[in-house]
């Protein structure tokens, strides 16, 4: 019997149009996902069809399967209640449990079959002509595994849960609420995984299995990811079993609890019978009035009714609770930079709400649009309501307003949740920022509401309309990779406005509002079309409705439609011209390939060719915050330091600049490449060796425009940071950052793989160019910077004088000692903290409210400067300043001046003891760059980034060690290694050893570089390493070609390294190795005299990445530190524990037994306590002694 019912259900569903339609949509999503896989999951080191990606995609799509399940499985029984056929069903000789089970099995099978369309979609996506990225060989087994191990159990659990909810409530509606709950649970699971202490519990909440799987595979190497499937074992197996169990339990519960007889109606059953019935036999006569006033009252009445209906429904209450929980989950998800998330300031809360609410809001709109538009039909009140003398607009506007109310309510609840959390955490609440920013962020959802409305009006049923929105959601989430102009193409989207505690971003929102105006016009079109096509009565066919529409269209309707269409097209054209044609995106930020290709075509021939070098810069800059314009005037002196003359000079300009005057001494414009803003000047008499020429410029720079509609950081009310090329001509030739970067796109256009041609270590030519500015070295700089009163302005060199005149403030800078061309122009309304260290004036300029850690920053800044001047080399400038900049968490270093993004440490939450003080590391790292990168510039040879970034990491680590202790460094290194493991897999660029690292392989020189350079220090000692660095500095500081390479540094370090560690140095810098260190079988014996003997086994493995990308085991001879720590390890984190004994010993075997005698009760044995080796699993280095 059960089989019969199941077969019938399956046949019914697979025969339906819905089945094939949804199936094909899933197939299409599979194709698209795989075709864009290169952009989603990297696609360089890891094949797009790597087993793990297949699993990931099958899983991502099972999100959408919730919709499938709700419409197929969850509604299979409720259908009988909603169409009242239950009485017939239950009067048949069928056991109702059998009936339920049959329906469930049949519809589950149908859902699985429907979902299976994903698989051919993914295969076609990977192996079709549209495929992006590297594709590995086809293995049917990988797809089958993903389907059977992930998709089928997921569908089963989802089905069982949603089936239970909908069957027991008899409402399909409840199933959708259940789907939202599952979504939030998944979010919480994801939030939890960010907190390491929660990791053991992730598999319990992880319905989809993907977070659990991620715990297994997150440190896999590309080779493993490309060749291996995550085994169905360990916590992953448990996860699958537990959730299958949950599914079975939900099914069992449904069977036990289901009562086939409907409950008696309970609504207001306890209201006492009322009296007051009068005898009325005459029909009351009331005049009907049909005017504007009536229409208004009707609209108000309808809105009230619709909103009440929504608000009183259980799904809404559930939604509000979930919104609350979701907001809290989001707050815990905020960007944990190295274990130190930012404080929950309003700007942080707004940002995480803005990002995290997008998907829930879209889902809510998709769902409620369907419910609202189809409500009368669903309750069969449509005929009465449709025959009422009220206009279509009354109905459709009331539904739209009700939809908007739900959006507003969810937003309000989420904000309330954040505010409560802020009150608990005691962070300052900025109510006006909530209003401004969230008000701006909610606008797109209003337009999407209009889109969802027309979708439902056009759709022949609710589910098709919801599916339409699901497709919209998928497209809009991927819009930035799919489209060059997403804000002009994807309905409802407007540019994201960046959030800052420094910069007042009103003008960003004003610019974004232009796009809202554009989409509002489209919404007006859609609402008018909804009005014309509004279902009034029982005719469903589109032909009939078009006939009705033709009749409904009168002059006012046609006029409204025409005006909105013209407005839409007009605003669209205006925005297109303003943001894309008149203000094109500069090549360095271009999203379109064309500009970048053109740039490379024109400029690349100049790469690595001798050019005139910059000797000095004079710059007079004046900015106006009111008009957001700047004038920039000055001159660049060029010198020919080569032994041959030059005929031409290429001058590039920012697209924002309007030239009032631009001249090249002795040169005339020869060719104008206007599309990339480059002009070629030809010298009337060639520039001879040793000769100097001056480039004079007078520019108006308009920062009030937004190229490409991108609301990017320019001239801000505070925290402005401009680069020289934004206000001045660029005469340095080819800049690789303005060329197309993506190697796959480059291959498509037939370009060499790398946009920058960097010499190998064997090519001597590279030594004549520095990695940053070709053959230009430090310059003499002088300039004035005029700003609005109340602002402080910074240029290069030292402040000579500052004065005020009227409502302007002036700052005059001049370099006493030549400074690097890396020069950031900054201005803002700052408060300053001053101090002195090593004879240098230190200053931190910061946003007054962001004073949480400024005093500590200064302390650590001092420590850094004192350490670097003592250990690396003298600092040539009298002042060293650190300036906060608006928006990001980035940082950079100029001669004597550091720039730190507002989220780079200034507002970190360091309340947790185990938090890494990321900000202090950044201060040390960037200050260190003054020595490593600016004073010592490296040659344009592979490995240059090791000389800049790995050494700056060392500076940062030593700042952490001297400001705190080695435990803080170890915490940092732990995060660093984790990041290396993760980024290596995401990267599009093949891995190289550190000494050959280049800017694209940043995961190597930053995140592998940190543990390696600190490892060297631990191995040969701080003194020896610093002695080597001092020698390196003395030899290469202020070189002007040839410049040093990584081999030069390595040679000096090797000279200070004992023979026994030479191989380890080779391992560190010249090989790609992965270690696996762990402790097992540790035990403790109590000896006499209060002493203890600790015995443990150390397991060691060493794998090397071969040239082909596979991995092989290599022989061991490793100097490994092993420590016994005290019992504190059971209380604090493992790095706070005190060492009772430690030893660095040579490990030559996979198993090594060690023994220690200690005087206190030991807590644990730890191998490699300071993470001097790169490992995947850092947790098994500790064995607790109980």
């Amino acid at each position: 019997m059960v089989g019969e019912i199941a077969r019938y259900e399956l046949a019914q569903l697979t025969r339906s149009r819905q089945f094939w339609f949804i199936g094909l949509v899933f197939a299409a999503m599979g194709v698209v996902l795989m075709a864009y896989a290169g952009d989603i999951v990297g696609g360089g080191n890891i094949n797009v069809n790597a087993p793990n990606n297949i699993i990931l995609f099958v899983n991502i799509l099972s999100f959408f399967a919730m919709f499938l399940v709700a419409s197929m499985v969850a509604s299979s029984v409720t259908r009988d209640f909603e169409i009242d056929s239950w009485q017939v069903v239950f009067s048949c000789p069928v056991s109702w449990r059998g009936y339920l089970l049959g329906r469930f099995i049949g519809s589950l099978l149908a859902a699985c079959l429907c979902y299976a369309f994903v698989i051919p979609g993914l295969i076609a996506g990977a192996h079709g002509p549209w495929s992006s990225g590297t594709v590995g060989p086809f293995h049917a087994w990988h797809y089958l595994y993903a389907f059977v191990v992930l998709a089928v159990p997921n569908l089963f659990v989802l089905s069982a849960l949603l089936f239970a909810v909908s069957t027991l409530t008899r409402k399909t509606l409840a199933a959708y609420a259940g789907a939202v709950l599952i979504f939030v649970l998944f979010n919480l699971g994801n939030a939890a995984i960010n907190d390491e202490s929660m990791e053991p519990f992730v598999f319990l909440v992880d319905l989809f299995g993907i977070s659990t799987l991620n715990l297994t595979t997150r440190y896999w190497t590309p080779y493993e990811l490309n060749t291996q499937l995550a085994p169905l074992a360990g916590t992953f197996l448990w996860n699958r079993l537990i959730w299958l169990g949950v599914g079975v339990a939900a099914m069992a519960w449904t069977l036990v609890r289901f009562n086939p007889y409907p409950r008696s109606p309970q609504i207001k059953a306890n209201v006492p019978a009322e009296t007051g019935q009068r005898n009325v036999d005459e029909r009351p006569i009331a005049t009907q009035v049909h005017d504007r006033n009536t229409a208004w009252q009707q609209l108000v009445g309808r809105v009230g009714l619709e909103v009440r209906a929504v608000v009183r429904s259980i799904p809404f209450v559930v939604l509000m609770i979930l919104g609350f929980v979701n907001a809290w989950a989001l707050a815990s998800l905020v960007d944990p930079v190295f274990g130190a998330p930012p404080l929950l300031l309003t700007r942080v809360a707004v940002k995480s709400l803005g990002d995290g609410l997008t998907l829930p809001l879209l889902i809510v709109i998709a769902y409620y649009a369907g419910e609202l538009v189809w409500r009368e039909r669903q309750v069969k009140l449509d005929q009465i309501v449709d025959a009422m003398p009220a206009r279509n607009t009354v109905f459709l506007l009331s539904k739209l307003l009700a939809l908007w109310t739900v959006v507003a309510a969810l937003l309000a609840v989420s904000i309330a949740a954040m505010v409560i959390l802020q009150l608990i955490k005691g962070t300052p609440i900025d109510a006006s920022m909530y209003l401004r920013e969230m008000g701006y962020r909610v606008l797109p959802f209003l337009w999407v509401g209009a889109l969802a409305l027309i979708g439902q009006v056009l759709s022949p049923n609710k589910y098709l309309g919801m599916l339409f929105m699901v497709i919209y959601i998928a497209v809009s989430l991927a819009s930035s990779t799919l489209f060059d102009m997403p804000s002009l193409v994807v309905p409802g989207s407007h540019p994201t406005s960046p959030i800052s505690g420094l910069a007042n971003s009103t003008f960003y929102r004003l610019e974004g509002l232009k796009y809202d105006l554009y989409w509002a016009a489209l919404s007006a079109v859609l609402v008018m079309l909804s009005h014309l096509l509004w279902r009034r009565g029982t005719d469903e066919g589109i032909a009939k409705r078009l006939r009705v529409a033709k009749r409904r269209i009168g002059v006012p309707q046609a006029a409204t439609l025409a005006i909105s269409l013209v407005a839409f097209a007009g605003i669209g054209r205006w925005l297109y011209v303003e943001d894309y044609v008149d203000n094109p995106i500069p090549p360095s930020d271009a999203v379109t390939d064309a500009t970048q290709l053109r740039y490379e075509q024109v400029m690349r021939p100049l790469e690595n060719k001798p050019l005139p070098v910059m000797k000095s810069v004079r710059l007079d800059l004046s900015t106006d915050l009111q008009t957001r314009r700047a004038t920039s005037r000055g001159e660049i002196v060029l010198r020919n330091k080569h032994d041959r003359p030059f005929d031409t000079l290429y001058v590039a300009l920012t697209p924002l600049a309007k030239v009032k005057q631009l001249s090249v001494e002795g040169g005339v414009v020869d060719q104008d490449f206007a599309d990339i803003h480059v002009a070629r000047y030809r010298f009337t008499s060639p520039m001879q060796p040793g000769e100097t020429r001056t480039v004079r410029f007078d520019l108006d720079v308009d920062f009030s425009n937004f190229p490409g509609g991108q609301l990017s950081s320019r001239l801000e009310t505070s925290g402005t940071a401009l680069s020289l090329s934004e206000v001045m001509p660029d005469v340095l030739g080819y800049s690789s950052y303005s060329a197309l970067g993506d190697p796959r796109k480059r291959a498509k256009h037939g370009l060499p793989e790398d946009r920058a041609h960097i010499a190998t270590l064997d090519e001597p030519w590279g030594r004549d160019f520095n990695g940053l500015f070709g053959q230009s070295d430090n310059i003499d700089f002088e300039g004035t910077y005029s700003v609005d009163k109340g602002q402080v302005a910074f240029m290069g060199g030292e402040l000579v004088r500052s004065w005020q005149q009227g409502d302007r403030a002036f700052f005059h800078y001049r370099s006493k000692t030549p400074i690097s061309l890396a020069l950031t122009l900054q201005q803002g309304a700052y408060r300053v903290l001053r101090d002195r260290a090593a004879g240098i004036d230190l200053a931190i300029y910061y946003n007054p409210p962001d004073d949480f850690h400024v005093a500590e920053f200064m302390k650590h800044f001092k420590i850094a400067v004192e350490y670097f001047t003592a250990e690396f080399g003298p600092f040539p400038y009298p002042e060293f300043r650190l300036i906060q900049k608006a928006f990001d968490a980035g940082a950079n270093s100029n001669s004597g001046q550091l720039t730190l993004g507002e989220f780079a440490g200034f507002v970190s939450d360091l309340s947790k003891n185990s938090a890494v003080d990321w900000g202090t590391h950044v201060v040390g790292h960037e200050a260190g760059h003054n020595w490593w990168g600016l004073m010592v510039t490296s040659a344009k040879v592979e490995g240059a980034t090791m000389l800049q970034e790995t050494l700056a990491q060392y500076a940062g680590l030593m700042t952490l060690e001297k400001s705190y202790d080695k435990a803080m460094v170890a915490r940092f290194l732990r995060e660093s290694i984790k990041k290396y493991n993760a980024d290596r897999n995401k990267s599009k660029f093949a891995e190289v050893p550190i000494y050959r690292s280049r800017s694209d392989t940043d995961y190597v020189h930053y995140w592998k570089g940190a543990p390696v350079i600190y490892g060297v220090k631990e191995l040969i000692g701080e003194q020896a390493l610093n002695q080597a660095l001092r020698e390196y500095f003395a030899k290469w500081a202020f070189a002007s070609g040839p410049y040093p390479t990584s081999l030069d540094l390595l040679a000096i370090i090797r000279a200070h390294t004992p023979e026994q560690y030479q191989q380890t140095l080779t391992d560190y810098f010249e090989r790609i190795l992965l270690h696996d260190l762990s402790v097992s079988e540790a035990r403790v014996e109590t000896l006499s005299g209060g002493r203890f003997k600790v015995i443990a086994t150390i397991h060691t493995k060493k794998m090397e990445r071969t040239a082909e990308g596979s991995e092989q085991s290599v022989p061991l001879h490793e100097p490994v530190q092993i420590a016994v720590v005290d019992e504190e390890i059971n209380r604090g984190d493992r790095y706070s524990a005190r060492w009772l004994a430690s030893e660095r010993r040579w490990i030559d075997a996979e198993r090594t037994q060690v023994e220690f005698i200690v005087n206190e009760r030991p807590g644990a044995v730890v191998v490699d306590p300071y993470h001097n080796f790169i490992e995947r699993n850092l947790d098994d280095n500790v064995k607790l002694l109980h």
Binding site: P265, I267, K268, A269, V271, A273, E274, T275, G276, Q277, R278, N279, V280, D281, E282, R283, P284, I285, A286, T287, Q288, V289, H290, T294, Q297, Q298, G301, R302, L305, A309, R312, R375, V379, K380, L381, Q383, I384, V385, D386, A387, M388, P389, A390, R391, V394, R536, G537, T538, D539, E540, G541, K544, R547, V548, R551
Partner: protein
């Protein structure tokens, strides 16, 4: 006066719901009779602007109904055959809402709704959710909304289905009274009601008007042609074979048949024709 010309409608599934329907409906009660699927509801929905015919025209006084549906709706009271309501909304709130939609000014709304609820005997239940009403109560609620305002065209599809006899009579009387000035189209299965209430009527079958006129005139056509006989239970087949059977029923356990014939058949006695006879003579006898 409502004037329907050559109305035709075919549903996408191929059913010819209306075929060349022409009808003039004067002020007063107009009864619409016909078996299930005859097209009565289609016709009423079409007049009520809820669906468009494929061809034909509808005029109400000077109004082209198909061209200006909104104007007709302002004068319409409509009760569909089958309807539901929003869950959880009380009778008072829902009728107030309908009064708003009907355009009854705020000043008159409360008293109108109050009177109307009293009229249909639902005032005591006004604070209960309409979705919890019994079938008869829901029907009365439907009647209440149809009568709100001053409709000059009232279309009621089986208004008394599910009402108890007392309520049915009350409502019939009410309709009759309203029908003195306005057009009331009443579709029903209760032939007796049409006889009692409607000065004019039409019979529909298979999407066509097969008879229309005054019930009395139509019925009188059968006078002198209708004959009755009490027969044995096994003789029905024989009677069917020999005569045109209009009606057969059991009266106190005996089977009584009425047949149509120009001359009195043997053993049959004359019967005074009823509307029922007319109805079955047109649409064919029951089996």
């Amino acid at each position: 006066m409502l004037s329907i010309q050559n109305l035709g409608k075919t549903y996408p599934n191929g059913v010819h719901a209306l075929q060349d329907v022409s009808l003039d409906v004067p002020a007063g009660m107009f009864g619409l009779l016909g078996p299930n699927g005859a097209g009565k509801s289609s016709l009423m929905r079409t007049i009520a602007t809820l669906q468009l015919p494929d061809q034909g025209s509808i005029r109400f006084d000077d109004l082209d109904v198909l061209a200006e549906p909104a104007t007709l709706r302002a004068r319409l009271g409509y009760l569909p055959q089958d309807f539901g309501v929003y869950p959880g909304v009380s009778g008072w709130d829902l009728l107030m809402h309908f009064a708003t939609l009907k355009g009854i000014p705020a000043s008159a709304r409360r008293s109108t709704v109050s009177d109307m609820l009293n009229l249909v005997h639902l005032y005591d239940k006004r604070n209960k959710a309409v979705s919890t009403y019994s079938g008869g109560m829901l029907r009365r609620f439907g009647i209440a909304q149809a009568l709100l305002g001053t409709p000059s065209l009232i279309i009621v599809d089986e208004p008394t289905a599910g009402l108890d006899p007392k309520e049915r009579h009350r409502f019939n009387n009410l309709l009759a009274k309203i029908g003195e000035n306005v057009v009331v189209i009443l579709s029903t299965h209760i032939v007796e009601d049409v006889w009692d209430l409607c000065p004019r009527m039409a019979v529909m079958n298979s999407g066509q008007i097969v008879a229309h006129g005054s019930p009395h005139a139509l019925t009188s056509q059968l006078r002198g042609k209708l004959w009755r006989k009490e027969i044995g239970r096994n003789d029905l087949a024989k009677v069917k074979a020999q005569h045109r059977l209009i009606l057969s029923r059991y009266v106190s356990g005996a089977l009584v048949v009425d047949v149509l014939a120009d001359a009195q058949p043997n053993g049959f006695s004359p019967v005074e024709p009823l509307l029922e006879h007319l109805y079955f003579s047109i649409i064919g006898a029951e089996d």
